[in-house]
């Protein structure tokens, strides 16, 4: 008889196990919510605001309602009949399921047409007429600080975050959260500094662009609701929809199959509250699938302005740094306030600086909402501080790598918050990058109209904390194993990694282990799949659960008088007289954490740090300003790679995505807040021909001792250094310094003209 699971002594961790779902994905059989059709299902098509800020005077749905084949048209007022306070959000309860009283950005959902035929719903949505009394609008994050245009009349923090309590009920402001950190006395130290540098940097609004656009389906009875959704946070969806409806959690089931990409777009509530309300209002299953265009009106990445000022000795030792960061959160806070704080405290960069001042502001504006996008704000910060570092190095006549090395944080030293770094291989990453870039060797700088340059950048991130993950590991009577966890596999390979971790504990081949996808009726709570937290948090929970299952099996062996190496199948046969029974181990993981004090300081800000560095070589066409990246090298500290091949592809994929955010991508708005390029034809993401001819991605030898088998997160690491490395290489090539993303050919050309003038 072939055993379901053969015990193995082969290490499971550190092996490039092919993704468990490989067959499903190459044959087109992988399950996505995109595919789901339920009997009697209605399709919802969203009618959206055409003004950036206005009071809703009238919504006329009569023509749409009368159109043949339309089942019903629903507005915000209809939803208010079902849910008296229909506002959601992870940090603020500020976002209505459909607009109520006011619209706050162009593209905000205002009404939904429901029909059995999606074409009918789409056609009828064109028949809705809305009238608004337009209000003054604000689009820029710095202007929003002092603007007369106020996006929200009063602030409504969610209450789950203690540090937001003080803004409850505040009015007349667009500042959703202001985070301040004071370490030492930066203003005084800057006054005394031998050299002081100050620069201002900007990043643009971009969008995640998952190729599976956001999609949710809800089906309901009078007392239960099942939501099938492309979500990175099923547990949050359940809790938040339960709160909105005033229901207990157990009446709401959230199922998540594979995600066709996420990158932070599919977090918290996106369409889930809407489809839930629509299903409850109609008694029918309801599906809302966004088009690619509509994704631009749903969630984006924060544009930022970052003023950075540094005091440094003549020989290159940084003594003080001031950081002022404005985060453009758009019309609804989403997770912006978390980004403002949890990433904000790393704004001075991975450097050992005695005097630090940080002011970080989360702003409301009349743009589409911004949230987390592969880096949780870190790439915006690294863009500024690593461009700034490069400018200083050149001004001081120092080698960029030597200058960084001189100031780099080392293990055992406190970061700006006061949290002491442990297991953070900053120096190793920088050293390895220098080697891979052949930094000490002569470099061909090009000639004529083709000039070449190279540059590097290094960044780091504190994993958002504190967050919780739970897991269960089931061992069946035949010895086969199933892992239950609510981590969403959106392409990052979490199913495979969790199977490797469980397999390592249980001495089973990862390929033989089944990982059950999120189903809140079945899989335990998990905070969310975000911020590169899952491998560490859920990995620890799975490891604990597997260890408990293993220990239970060992106890059974002893109780039953079996040898210590008795096959699992024999344990159950002996105990139950046949192939029956099972063993379940559970694990829960929450790291320790200490909230920052009044000065933003804490000795325990994060359970682990991620380090990413990128080196770039590029060519500049000096007649047109066009930039071509010819070589890109990414190096990361990911702890011990659980699956080396997946780690490499995560680093490389993240770096190419960030290359797009650096050179190609920008949401272009006109003066009235209208988006001019909401399609892949006009918003270009990287394709084959944009990928550098030479691309290397590598993890340094490192260990995160608190992580499962030494591992930690990697999903965002490859993004950190890309943008400033390109800007630094560009400056190296032609002497043009770009301070606003994206680096367009035209901006480079203008810079070259400026140098010639």
């Amino acid at each position: 008889m072939k055993r379901a699971t053969q015990s193995t002594e082969t290490p499971q961790v550190g092996r490039s196990v092919p993704r468990l779902e490989s067959w499903l994905k190459v044959t087109g059989r992988a399950e996505y919510v995109h595919n789901l059709r339920l009997p009697g299902m209605l399709y919802g098509k969203i009618f959206r605001s055409t003004v950036a800020h206005g009071r809703i005077r009238r919504i006329d749905v009569s023509a749409a309602q009368a159109a043949g084949g339309v089942y019903r048209v629903v507005t915000g007022e209809d939803i208010r009949q079902l849910i008296p306070e229909p506002y959601f959000g992870p940090a603020f309860h500020d976002q209505p399921i459909l607009a109520l009283d006011k619209v706050r950005y162009v593209g905000e959902p205002v009404a939904v047409v429901l029909a059995s035929d999606p074409h009918v719903a789409e056609e009828a949505a064109h028949l809705i007429v809305a009238q608004y009394d337009e209000l003054p609008a604000v689009y820029d994050e710095v202007e929003a600080m002092t603007s007369e245009a106020i996006v929200h009349d009063t602030l409504k923090p969610a209450g789950t975050f203690p540090d937001l309590k003080h803004v409850k009920g505040k009015s007349g402001t667009n500042v959703a959260l202001d985070f301040h950190l004071r370490r030492g006395d930066a203003p005084a130290a800057l006054k005394k500094a031998e050299r002081v540098f100050e620069h201002r940097f900007h990043t643009q609004q971009v969008m995640h662009t998952p190729l599976e656009p956001l999609v949710s389906v809800a089906e309901s009875t009078e007392s239960s609701l099942t939501i099938h959704t492309a979500s990175q946070s099923p547990s949050f969806v359940r809790i938040e929809v339960a709160r909105l409806l005033g229901w207990p959690e157990n009446r709401i089931r959230v199922r998540v199959p594979f995600l066709g990409g996420g990158f932070g777009a599919k977090l918290y509530i996106k369409l889930e509250a809407l489809v839930s309300a629509l299903s409850l209002l109609t008694g029918r299953p309801v599906k809302v699938s966004l088009t690619m265009e509509e994704q631009f009106f749903t969630i984006t990445k924060h544009p930022t302005t970052f003023r950075i000022k540094t005091g440094v000795t003549r020989d290159g030792r940084i003594t003080a740094r001031e950081c002022e960061v404005w985060w453009n959160g758009g019309a609804y806070a989403d997770i912006g306030p978390r980004v403002t704080q949890k990433s904000g405290f790393t704004a001075p960069g991975p450097y050992d600086i005695e005097h630090v001042l940080i002011d970080s502001y989360s702003l409301y504006t009349n743009r589409p909402p911004a949230g987390a996008l592969r880096g949780f704000g870190i790439p915006q910060l690294v863009w500024a501080y690593e461009s700034h570092m490069d400018i200083m190095a050149r001004e001081l006549g120092l080698d960029p790598i030597a200058f960084r090395r001189k100031n780099l944080l080392r293990d055992g030293r406190p970061q700006a918050t006061g949290t002491v770094l442990r297991d953070v291989a900053l120096d190793k990453v920088l050293d390895r990058l220098a080697v891979l870039m052949d930094w000490e060797k002569p470099f061909d700088r090009g000639n004529g109209t083709l000039r070449r340059g190279r540059g590097i950048a290094i960044g780091f991130k504190a994993c958002v904390s504190p967050t919780t993950s739970l897991a269960a590991v089931n061992v069946s009577a035949d010895g086969s194993c199933t892992v239950y966890c609510s981590t969403a596999d959106m392409g990052q390979g979490s199913d495979t990694a969790m199977a490797q971790i469980a397999g390592e504990v249980l001495h089973m081949a990862a390929e033989s282990i089944r990982v059950v996808h999120s189903d809140t009726d079945v899989t335990p709570y998990d905070m969310a799949t975000l911020g590169s937290r899952s491998l560490f948090h859920m990995g620890n929970a799975v490891k604990l659960a597997a260890e408990e299952a293993r220990d239970k099996l060992d106890v059974l062996r002893k109780e039953l008088g079996l040898a210590a190496d008795a096959e699992i199948g024999d344990i159950f046969k002996k105990k139950y007289g046949m192939q029956a029974g099972n063993v379940v181990g559970t694990g829960s993981y929450i790291p320790t954490y200490k909230s920052p004090d009044a000065n933003g300081l804490t000795d325990n800000a994060t359970p682990f740090w991620m380090v990413g560095a990128t080196g770039v070589e590029l060519e500049v066409d000096t007649e047109t300003g066009r930039v071509r990246v010819t070589r890109m090298v990414n190096v990361g500290d990911v702890g011990t790679p659980i699956n080396p091949k997946i780690v490499e592809t995560q680093l490389s994929g993240a770096s190419i995505m960030q290359l797009g955010f650096t050179l190609l991508e920008k949401m272009e708005f006109d003066g009235n807040g209208q988006l001019r390029n909401a399609s892949l034809a006009e918003y270009r993401i990287p394709g084959f021909l944009d990928v550098p001819a030479s691309l290397t991605s590598e993890a340094v030898v490192a260990e995160q001792r608190s992580g499962p088998f030494g591992g930690k997160g990697v999903g965002e690491t490859g993004t950190f250094g890309v943008s400033p490395a390109i800007a630094n290489a560009l400056h190296d090539a032609v002497g043009v310094r770009i301070t606003s993303l994206p680096i367009s050919a035209e901006a480079v050309f203008e810079g070259l003209q400026g140098l010639r003038a």
Binding site: P18, T27, R37, G261, G491
Partner: protein
């Protein structure tokens, strides 16, 4: 306005009632439960909806189903065993989320039919109309070359 069209789908003769404005990818999903070709950008730019019609790759989201009358339509679901291209995609780890993968598999088959031993440049140009937001591009190039070797061992 619906009318019946007949065509061959993955080798089998089939028929479906279609409206003139329905696209082939909609009909394959709604009438045949085939989800390997899927609409993403809706503009023929991303390649997620790639199908083979009479042996030529097309964007299923821009292809009217009515025009498939009498055609030979093939999708990624065709066949039971994995072919060299699919095996190579697995071995080279040439996908992450998998949403774009069926399109890449079909395009790669057509590429290798036309150019059995493509260079990197051939591959990049041929597949430039398929987007992968996870950006598994370097691994896809490896997979295409591996598939070429699997198809022409020597």
């Amino acid at each position: 306005m619906r009318r019946e069209i007949r065509f061959r789908l993955n080798g089998e003769p089939v028929s479906a009632q279609v409206a003139p404005h329905e696209t082939l990818v909609e009909v394959l999903q709604d009438a045949f439960g085939l989800y390997g070709a899927r609409e993403s950008c809706a503009q023929g730019l991303c390649g997620c909806c790639t199908l083979l019609v009479n042996g030529r790759a097309v964007s299923g989201c821009l292809y009217l189903a009515s025009l498939a009358q009498d055609a030979e339509v093939r999708t990624v679901e065709e066949g039971k065993a994995l072919d060299a291209v699919q095996q190579a995609f697995i071995e080279a780890s040439a996908f992450q989320c998998g949403f774009c993968t069926p399109g890449f598999v079909l395009m790669t088959r057509q590429l290798l039919d036309e150019i059995p031993n493509p260079t990197d440049d051939d591959i990049k140009h041929y597949l430039s109309g398929n987007l992968c937001r996870c950006a598994a591009y370097p691994e896809i190039i490896e997979a295409v070359k591996l598939a070429a070797r699997k198809r022409n061992p020597s």
